[in-house]
Symmetry: C2
Subunit: 161 residues, 2 copies
């Protein structure tokens, strides 16, 4: 996370991940490929559906978070590397819990994502890695919470001196 080693990440660290803009085009493109439910495919389907209009697949909202998370980490890491520091790539995630789609995301919405570190743990089984736990949220342009989940990600530990 942010190009940091496990040792440099503390509970409470809060990161603005930037935002993802949902357009009619990207909503339809994602839905046709992965989530072709009527309320993700057309205005008519949306109006007849549970959200009163065309809305983005929840998995698209999640993918927008991932895109922003990767971009933020890459930028932070590039800055550290440019300054001559050592900086690990962000590791994979073994999974997560409590994902909530709290409000629909409509065409024209911009969702701003954030991540806040809620804890970390060393791993006996993988001494070169730890796990960082985080609370992740997405707010639309009206500042309504539309999306959240509790994540975890493998994070490299400082190389032994």
């Amino acid at each position: 996370m942010l190009g940091l080693f496990l040792e440099d990440i503390d509970e409470g660290l809060s990161v603005d991940l930037g935002s993802y803009h949902f357009t009619r085009e990207n909503i339809l493109r994602f839905a046709r490929k992965y989530d072709p439910q009527p309320f993700h495919l057309s205005d008519e389907g949306g109006f007849r559906g549970p959200f009163g209009g065309l809305s983005a697949s929840g998995w698209h909202t999640a993918a927008g978070w991932m895109k922003c998370f990767v971009a933020t980490n890459d930028a932070a890491r590039a800055k550290l590397l440019a300054a001559g520091k050592t900086s690990p790539e962000v590791g994979p995630g073994p999974g997560f819990t409590n994902l909530k789609w709290l409000k629909p995301v409509y065409p024209g919405d911009t969702v701003r994502y954030s991540s806040r570190v809620t804890g970390k743990r060393e791993l006996a089984s993988r001494p070169q890695w730890g796990l960082v736990f985080s609370m992740n949220e997405g707010f639309n342009q009206k500042d309504e919470l539309v999306f959240s989940f509790e994540g975890k990600v493998f994070t490299a530990r400082l190389p032994s001196p």
Copy 2:
């Protein structure tokens, strides 16, 4: 689920959702758009990364589940409608929990998804809907469990007579 009303869905109902084939092309396309980490973008990045080769974004594995879930429900519903029965569209999901990416998914892998009903609940706040809870899994062609999560989905109740 399966075009059924809440009343017709019982704990233990188990559904084969069909499969999704991961190709180099769809892995790269998804990763470039939503999860551009080195180990999802190229063989070289994959070999240097944690999984020994190019692998699919975990969110792509999840999106493959969604695609199969929608297709299975649509086909079951079409059959019921063709037989002159009343059948509700599958409702939206408020979220889910305990998503696990257990093994990497590589180009050429085919993941077969399934869903098993673990419970259901009526909703006091929305008398026309209930919630169906499910355990969802994805197995690759070697029968290794690669993906699972505990889902829930709004499901229409039988209209009052």
